[in-house]
């Protein structure tokens, strides 16, 4: 296996903090915010992240496959989540400390609840508006809820949520550079 060649393409309107771990071929779209202490590892294939995503502290995005891992627009990756999905659509919320395995592809408007572990044995595509949330049993020692419930969200309130997501990102783009050093891509 050839050594991973680092290549970062960061849009000039993206805010990627200096204290972020990047590995491999990574493209970050306009308006996307990457907090300090987040990590993006393109181990096997490249990772392409769309516009206006928010990647919070301690969040880890990993691509273990050869093909490109595509992350759409307006996704929120909360603190300490770990996502290895080969494709992610738009307007998804990956909640704090959740873990999504590489066998899961995420469509749009999905919510992975706090601490939820999504690890299907076979490859699966979560349809739009899928909500996964913690079950009635408490989490195991690993700090995740392996027993999860599923629902389909009606989508009511999505416009307001999208609006909030945009404002959230906008605020971060303004505030983060005041307190953190920002990384520039190879391209800019």
């Amino acid at each position: 296996m050839p050594p991973i060649k680092d290549k970062y393409t960061i849009h000039s309107k993206a805010v990627v903090c200096q204290d972020v771990e990047l590995k491999g071929d990574i493209t970050i779209g306009a308006g996307t915010v990457v907090h300090p202490k987040a990590a993006i590892y393109a181990i096997a294939g490249p990772i392409v992240i769309g516009q206006n995503c928010i990647i919070e502290e301690g969040a880890i995005l990993v691509n273990r496959r050869k093909e490109v891992m595509r992350v759409g627009d307006d996704n929120l990756f909360e603190i300490g989540c770990r996502v290895e999905s080969p494709t992610i659509g738009h307007f998804n919320t990956i909640s704090a400390k959740s873990r999504v395995h590489h066998t899961v592809r995420i469509s749009s408007f999905c919510v992975i609840g706090i601490r939820c572990l999504v690890l299907p044995a076979d490859d699966e595509i979560l349809p739009d508006y899928t909500v996964i949330y913690g079950g009635s049993t408490s989490g195991d020692a690993a700090g995740v809820d392996a027993v999860v419930e599923r629902r389909v969200w009606s989508g009511r309130g999505k416009v307001q949520e999208a609006d909030l997501r945009r404002k959230h990102a906008e605020y971060l783009r303004e505030m983060l550079p005041k307190f953190n050093r920002v990384r520039r891509g190879d391209g800019s």
Partner: protein, 578 residues
């Protein structure tokens, strides 16, 4: 399980001494120290089984509104403001406006939303994304939602049926409360209770009250109306009343949705995904029987909580009383036993010896041994036929030093302690009937525990061993090999601040089985604040140690029982298997 020490509350029996620790009933008489109260008036320990509880206030756990008790019933014990629970995940719901009419293309960079929310409003769960529009509940205004919901709750068939039932029984209840005032049962007729007081008396007379149409309970005749023959005898004089009650006809049809009838059976038969059926925990928070289907679950008003006040059952003094404010977690009055009685913790030094033998033993035990040994591989085990030292650490909560004397009750005493006068003397005859599985030695003389003080107030610790009998080599007995304990392990081992550690020893018989669990009488002498202690009088309340030293008049002695559980005995033959 680590060794434990629980404290006795004598409320469950008239005897001053607690039940033998090997009886199942024993566990009901003993409690962890932190759950106990202490009545200064009665000079006695009180537990949650004997205190009388009254509600001092109701509040909503979500909005912390203090609900006047007058409205609690009308609002059916649930918050009447804007607090709702998600029927699926029990998260708190929030009221949100609808999206603007044209959702359009969200990925385009322009989303315009006015600052004022658009009706209709609905309840929305931020966690599982359920919303009340799914069950057709929306609101024109974001206020007064509880009132609107309660209206639908109250119009539920079950609710209406309940109201009708109440109306139906109303005249009978009124009549029975009148008759109760004329015919009080003598207090001797119901179960003898050591602490009869106005509240328990009222409660038990209410329970024993004559209800027209219902067979009378007569203690001398035994159960009436039961499956036995008692019903006929007592029913005879009640026939007149029975006829008075007209038959009640239900309006709700049995077998409708949610009541387990054909409709539900049919639903279950055609079930495709288990999640279609609401789980039991999702349904039973609801006030009335609801549909089985999870898609029919309705938002719930949040149930109120209450703050209780607890009183001493015999003198009615308040033992604990919270502050009225729902936001406050403080207490106005707090008489907890932990502030009066020395805290005692037990441990086995041999359990701290590296895991090797323990782990092996318990793995053998789990196959054939007593079930209690199964859960924890690190559990200290005691092998039959061996002798083990154990330690009791006593911590003094008082601002004055105390002198403590320990005595084993009823437990088999080794010969050298047989002469000692313990509280178990009266039971010595019983002991002879059974071969004891183990014998416990404890220090026989009283030992001091320093006063409680703030950490910085302690002087350099001096070893004050002069007051004790024949004690102790300073080398910790914890390093003694298990099973080879010497007599030196019994006595005061360590004094530090307001904590004194004493050592004891347990000799396990060759045929010993079960738990090493024994009752221990703890008597401590302290300087009393009030000069004239009313000793005696409450003989039923706490046993006074017969060995309590007659000290200076301002000294008082308080005695209480504890149960010390050191763990399970591993039968000897099983350890040979390895």
């Amino acid at each position: 399980m680590a060794p434990s020490v629980n404290y006795h509350c004598p409320c469950l029996s008239s005897a001053a001494t607690p039940p033998p620790p090997n009886l199942p009933s024993s566990s009901y008489s003993f409690h962890p120290l932190h759950t106990l109260y202490f009545c200064e008036e009665c000079d006695a320990v009180r537990c949650n089984r004997c205190v009388s509880v009254e509600v001092s206030g109701y509040y909503c756990p979500n909005c912390l509104f203090e609900v006047p008790s007058a409205s609690v019933r009308a609002e059916k014990n649930r918050c009447a403001r804007n607090c709702f629970q998600c029927p699926h995940c029990r998260n708190t719901l929030s009221v949100v406006p609808s999206d603007p009419p044209d959702a359009g293309d969200l990925t385009s960079s322009t989303i315009q939303i006015g600052s004022i929310g658009e009706p209709p409003f609905f309840l929305y769960c931020n966690y599982c994304r359920w919303d009340s529009a799914e069950v057709g509940i929306t609101f024109e205004k974001p206020t007064g939602l509880a009132l609107q919901l309660q209206k639908t709750e109250d119009s539920a068939p079950d609710s209406l049926e309940f109201e009708r039932l109440k109306e139906h029984f109303e005249p009978f209840l009124r009549a029975s409360s009148l008759s109760a005032s004329t015919s009080h049962l003598p207090s001797t007729s119901h179960a003898p209770h050591t602490h009869t007081n106005p509240i328990t008396a009222a409660a038990s007379s209410a329970l024993a009250r004559d209800i027209p149409g219902v067979g009378k309970y007569n203690p001398s005749l035994g159960r009436s109306g039961g499956p036995g023959g008692g019903g006929g005898r007592s029913g005879r004089d009640r026939t007149a009343n029975k006829d008075e009650m007209p038959e009640y006809r239900s309006r709700v049809q049995i077998g409708g949705a949610g009541s387990g009838g054909d409709e539900d059976a049919d639903l279950m038969r055609h079930l495709e995904v288990p999640a279609e059926i609401a789980r039991l925990e999702q349904r039973w928070v609801s006030s009335w029987a609801t549909s089985l289907q999870s898609k029919h679950l309705k938002p719930l008003r949040i149930p109120l909580h209450s703050k209780p006040t607890k009183r001493c059952p015999s003198c009615r003094h308040i033992l604990i009383k919270p502050e009225q404010k729902a936001q406050s977690v403080k207490y106005k009055i707090k008489l907890v036993a932990a502030n009066y009685l020395p805290a005692i913790t037990a441990h086995l030094p041999h359990a701290q010896i590296p895991k090797r033998p323990v782990a092996l033993k318990s793995s053998v035990t789990s196959s054939t041994g007593p079930p209690a040994a199964e859960e924890d591989t690190a559990e200290p085990t005691m092998v039959a036929g061996k002798t083990y030292p154990f330690q009791l650490a006593l911590t003094n909560p008082l601002y004055d030093p105390i002198h403590v004397r320990l005595a084993v009750q009823r437990a088999p005493l080794p010969p050298q302690l047989q002469s000692q006068d313990t509280a178990g003397t009266t039971d010595k005859e019983k002991e002879k009937t059974r071969r004891p599985p183990f014998a416990v030695s404890l220090p026989t003389s009283a030992f001091p525990i320093a006063a409680f003080a703030e950490a910085w107030e302690y002087e350099d610790e001096e070893e004050l061993f002069d007051e004790d009998g024949g004690l102790v080599d300073k080398s910790s007995p914890a390093k003694d090999r298990a099973g080879k304990g010497k007599t030196k392990t019994v006595g005061v081992l360590e004094k530090k601040a307001n904590c004194t550690v004493v050592g004891g020893e347990v000799v396990i018989g060759r045929e010993g089985r079960g738990d090493v669990k024994f009752n221990m009488l703890v008597s401590y002498t302290y300087r009393s604040d009030d000069p004239a202690p009313s000793d005696g009088g409450e003989g039923d309340v706490e046993p006074r140690s017969p060995t309590a030293p007659k000290a200076a008049p301002e000294m008082k002695t308080f005695s209480f029982f504890t149960v010390v559980d050191l763990g399970v005995i591993v039968p000897k033959d099983e350890t040979k298997v390895e």
